[in-house]
Symmetry: C2
Subunit: 399 residues, 2 copies
């Protein structure tokens, strides 16, 4: 049947005020995606009158969210008084993204135009460290980046933090981050300060980055990434599938061989036992340690037969687990991101052979992310920017 016009259960009344807020958002999204645009062009694109759009635009300019670039060349606007091109402000709110990695901390500031305006990285082995000292170091990096953003005329609007672990939906509690050895950690509370804080799984932010910043990313895809374990995130109809508790996307624990080796999750023969970085190192006869993904990529590029065989095995296991995912989700594409994007040349042939032969009728494509390991950090910062575009009235004083 036709898609419902709304979700009646949400219960938010449809008022003039709500309509105005939604239309402010439509203007911001349109200019962000296609600007610079004249008021007339915005009106055409969102289907409102030019007068209605002008009122909305004036509010957004007063709030510092849109800039007027000055009169356009005559002829471009067609008729009437010369239009003035509108652009999203490069001096308005900014999103601060942060990442807690196993071997690094990173922070960046992104403006409403999507440009990275400041960043900071600190390399350190965070495995087994208590959350408090780690978040203290992270907070110092956030202060540094937010300070730079302020100097550039930006107003940080929020902080979003990517972590490698299960994050509870709604509360943002880090329920389990096995590679950091954290459990039930309230990162938002530890980082509480001037900025509102949200916390999410790094694979989720990686997938959102792919959706928002990727080249022609389809609205339905499975994003597979790896740091130590295997992470994944599922995007359906342009929205992240979070699951009841927020734990969706645990591709690493899909059974590949049900009687296979025991996994720390309690299961047996999970994908992580075959395609996790540590499993691949083991299969290649190498020990664990820092920078191992780079080592695997270098050795594979040099033609090391053991490493190539290990990566073929990992690709096969990925293909089997993804066969399940493709049958259940019917995504347009599987995107290999994060550390896997570096190993793609040696994973892909086996992965595509396995997936292709098992799911020929579903014809799901496989692609490699251009964002690579940058995805989660960018996704975090952009999530703050998107929230501003989605509801400009929330950050705009006086709007």
């Amino acid at each position: 049947m036709t898609a419902p016009l709304h979700d009646a259960r949400r219960g938010t009344p449809d008022t003039q005020q709500g309509m105005r807020r939604r239309n402010l958002s439509r203007v911001m999204h349109t200019v962000a995606a296609e600007g610079p645009l004249s008021r007339a062009a915005v009106a055409t694109r969102i289907g409102l009158t030019r007068a209605a759009v002008s009122t909305l635009v004036d509010e957004l300019i007063r709030a510092g969210l849109l800039d007027e670039l000055g009169p356009e060349r005559p002829g471009r606007t067609g008729r009437g008084r010369p239009g003035s091109a509108l652009a999203v402000s490069g001096r308005g709110p900014a999103g601060i993204g942060a990442e807690v990695g196993v071997d690094h901390l990173a922070v960046c500031a992104v403006d409403l135009r999507g440009e990275v305006r400041a960043r900071a990285v600190q390399w350190s082995d965070n495995r087994g460290r208590a959350p408090k000292p780690v978040t203290e170091e992270l907070a110092a990096l956030v202060d540094q980046v937010a300070g730079e953003a302020h100097k550039a005329g930006l107003r940080p609007a929020g902080l979003a933090v990517a972590v490698p672990g299960l994050v509870e939906r709604g509360t943002g509690m880090v329920v389990r981050a096995p590679n950091l050895d954290w459990r039930d950690t309230d990162l938002a509370e530890l980082l509480a300060g001037e900025l509102p804080v949200t916390v999410d799984n790094e694979a989720n932010f990686g997938a959102l980055a792919e959706l928002w910043l990727g080249d022609a990313t389809p609205p339905d895809f499975v994003h597979v990434s790896a740091e130590i374990g295997i992470g994944a995130a599922v995007v359906v109809d342009g929205r992240l599938l979070r699951g009841t508790r927020g734990f969706a996307g645990e591709l690493g624990h899909v059974p590949v061989r049900p009687e296979g080796p025991k996994c720390r999750c309690g299961g047996r023969g999970c994908l992580e036992q075959y395609a996790g970085v540590e499993a691949v190192l083991r299969a290649a006869g190498l020990g664990p340690g820092e920078g191992r993904v780079g080592l695997l990529a270098d050795r594979a590029a040099e033609g090391d037969k053991d490493v190539r065989r290990a990566l073929r095995g990992a690709g096969t296991a990925l293909g089997i687990a993804l066969t399940g995912a493709v049958n259940l989700l019917d995504p347009h594409t599987v995107v290999l991101g994060g550390a896997l994007s570096r190993l793609a040349p040696w994973l892909l042939p086996a992965l595509e052979r396995e997936l292709g032969s098992r799911t020929a009728r579903l014809a799901c494509g496989v692609a490699v992310s251009r964002l690579g390991p940058e995805g989660p950090l960018l996704g975090a910062a952009h999530s703050v920017v998107r929230a501003v575009l989605d509801d400009p009235a929330m950050v705009a004083n006086g709007v």
Copy 2:
């Protein structure tokens, strides 16, 4: 971050007209879910003024979608002039649902109150029959049921047809229905008549029935059903997950043992090879044929050891495949529906043991549908009813 107020990419402008249509829908849904209700009670629930609600209600009464039950007892409305309770009309639009089964055709009419007002079933072996004679028989049943609905004062508003096969999203084309031996069949065109026709997979309609009619069904669940093959449908945040082409939910082809027996899908060791009705019959030493689910249930109830062993094996395989689904989707519950609900007593122990030991940290529940084999037919009819509630202006002449 906060949920976006809207999806800017849809591009539909937010106009007075759109707002009125959404608010008409809110009133209909509220009265359908909680009625009879006074105008004041509706206003409180949807957060609009009593005056605004009265205007909307008057339109819906004129259009024959709501009934005024007469003045309420004094005291119930509190103050002001006595309110009049509103109820969804039992003489308004009706949804016609139809089901093409392997061994039967069924049609029913459901009114806006959700009551089945007419139904017809015809038993026949449809395997390998051409689509045309089958749809001619189905059309005759539809005419019969629609005629009865008309006599009861109802106006059929649409026909929704459930089929056991892959249905293409958007077009409603039956791309593949292996158990009927249909391919690329445009059922909507074959059934074209006075009523608008929609076509969907029977597992999808079964899951929607569970969502709309089940006892406290959560908004995130995986619905598993079986006729000959294994079907499933995934509901996320109260919406059916359809996938890019409309083929999501193919649990039957999730690999259970990657080197297992060949499957007609091109894969190996798919769930259907272990838990499909034909596989269970084979494992129990029984041949294929009609009414085999009933036979399995009867034999299992009598204590037949071969049948019970075969069902335990099927339950184990279901548990392994569902481990993958639970890790990827993090559903609140797995619901066994369709033919599986009859076999649940003998499937469940092995299924729950396998799923529980492999996904302990995700704590997903398992439930058995009360709707059973009725689900897809009811889901189809209710999908038409929901479309009317979602946008009453579309069917209401003069509104």
